[in-house]
Amino acid sequence: MKYFKLIALFIRATVQVQLEYRSGTFGRAFANVLSSATTLLLLWAMFQQVSSIGGWSFDQVLVLIGIVTTIDYVVEIWLYPSLSKITTYVQRGEFDVLLVKPVPSQFLVTFRYLQVLDVLGLLVGLGIIGTGMYRTGSLEFINFALLAVFLVAGLVIIYSLYLALSTLAFWFTRIEEVASMIWLHSTAGSFPVAAYPPWARLLFTFVLPVAFVTNVPAEAATGRLSWEWGLGGLAFATLALCGATWLWSLAIRNYSSASS
């Protein structure tokens, strides 16, 4: 309850600033449409030559693109604004202020900047997913439910990766270079992982888990998800979240023993 109230207050503050600076809103949604359109065009051109990529049809890849677009957008309006501040807190020594609060610091850094005003852009991604699902004839309740579950799991994985990377700011000062890795899922994840050579498949599944973040939800939405991949995705998300949380608490302990 208290946590919902806090999130609401954080959202309100973030929205007020967004309104004051009139940052983005439509510009950002438009950029989102544009980048998705480019990817789609590219994809369409490729499918003029072949009928499937890694066993995925055009319409199935369409769902994949929709998912990448959606996740990208969530990262952009939530995870990036919130988690990228960690570096600043640490560099300015402002972490003390968070640590004396009787609320977990991980909660405070996670939900601090939620730019819900830009939520319109999400419709682009969701629209593409819907179109793809319609064209593959998979508009069924069970598919929507599974899609929701694995989209959340994918977001949890991205969140955990990004939190872990930002947590490294406690040890490295110039973390920005590392943190730009966060966008990899949208470059590498826009294609079916099955289309890559085996070594890259391994890499994209376990090291940079684009398979779990984008491929699995797309399969879920089109009713093609095998239970191995489903369980694997959920397990990976749980592990990633636990790992990132553990790393965070380690960093806090380390900070408190004051190594700077």
Partner: protein, 336 residues
């Protein structure tokens, strides 16, 4: 057990990493960590009772902030124990954090992007303050600190003094039992310093909260604290009454003379050592017990237009304390 803060032989060393330049360098030093230990606090013990206001003095780098950070749970002690309100601070239990507050004059606690009112609402939620308590305390704080005009301006548009007052209000909305104030008046003008002092004194009287305050402005300490702790080079060099400190460390009073005609310093030094002489003003150091006698002899002998007897300024008394370090036990005895 009546002391609400107990610090027992606290030592705190900072581990400073030897970092190599560049990303690869950071990676290397991440794998093979090289530490240097910087001792910041060495074997400090004291107790503070409910309702006390204690001034915490010491030169830059003495270890004041470090001590306060250990007491508020931000840092683990390297050795020794801290006990605050029955809690071990560094465990950072929610109940502990809800009963203390830390104000750091050098650090911003209110969010830049919110108005003070919004920040206060966030604090209300964070500290689980009931609506009734929140309204009552906010009302009181707004009145005492005259916050009304600034409550709804974004924090980034406030002046330093306005911001500090809001910081104080935000830090007290949850009704803490202990206030750790680290240089709360830094950078404020004299009026604002006084306002903050008055407020802290008032808050202490009204709520019975204990206050631990560091400041480089001696006026803060004189106005607020009966008891002072003096720390230097990480060691406690004095713990006692401010007036005892003055009596102990400043056996002399200052005799200020305004002369009617120029007089040579030699002629004055017959009566007592001359501390300062500039044109027609002179200052002599007279032992407490003999001040009256010396003053009357001077008045008989020298053309004096005006005379005043004053205590040594506390700055100077404390400043002297920093220069030599007698063993703490001896000073404690003397203070009692």
């Amino acid at each position: 057990m009546s002391a609400i803060i107990q610090l027992d032989h606290l030592c705190k060393d900072y581990e400073v990493h030897q970092k190599e330049p560049g990303l690869m360098g950071s990676l290397r030093s991440f794998v093979r960590r090289k530490y240097q230990l910087v001792p910041a606090v060495k074997d400090v013990s004291f107790e503070i009772e409910q309702g006390e206001i204690v001034g915490f003095l010491g030169p830059n780098g003495a270890g004041k902030t470090t001590t306060l950070k250990v007491l508020s749970g931000l840092l683990y002690p390297t050795s020794g124990h801290a006990r605050v309100l029955g809690f071990t601070p560094h465990e950072r239990k929610a109940d502990f954090l809800k009963s203390i507050t830390m104000v750091m004059g050098q650090k911003q606690q209110l969010a830049w992007d919110m108005t003070p009112s919004d920040s206060f609402l966030v604090n209300q939620a964070i500290y689980d303050v009931s609506d009734a308590d929140f309204r009552r305390r906010l009302g009181e704080l707004t009145e005492m600190l005259e916050l009304q005009p600034v409550l709804n301006k974004p924090v980034r548009k406030l002046s330093l003094g306005e911001r500090m007052k809001c910081e104080l209000a935000g830090a007290l909305l949850h009704g803490p039992k202990i206030l750790f104030l680290d240089e709360p008046t830094i950078g404020l003008d004299v009026n604002m310093q006084q306002a903050v002092r008055r407020f802290v004194a008032d808050y202490n009287v009204r709520t019975g909260a204990a206050v631990m305050l560091t400041s480089h402005y001696m006026a803060d300490v004189e106005a607020l604290a009966e008891r002072v702790l003096v720390i230097d080079g990480g060691q406690l060099v004095f713990d006692g009454n401010l007036s005892a400190l003055v009596a102990e460390r400043a056996p002399n009073k200052v005799l200020k003379l305004q002369l009617a005609h120029p007089v040579s310093p030699e002629r004055l030094s017959v009566f007592a050592p001359v501390r300062m002489m500039e044109g027609l003003t002179a200052e002599l150091l007279a032992p407490r017990g003999k001040v009256a006698e010396i003053a009357s002899r001077i008045l008989n002998d020298v053309p004096v237009a005006d005379i005043a007897i004053e205590d040594m300024p506390i700055e100077e008394v404390v400043g002297r304390l920093f220069q030599r370090k007698p063993p703490i036990e001896a000073v404690r005895e003397a203070a009692k």
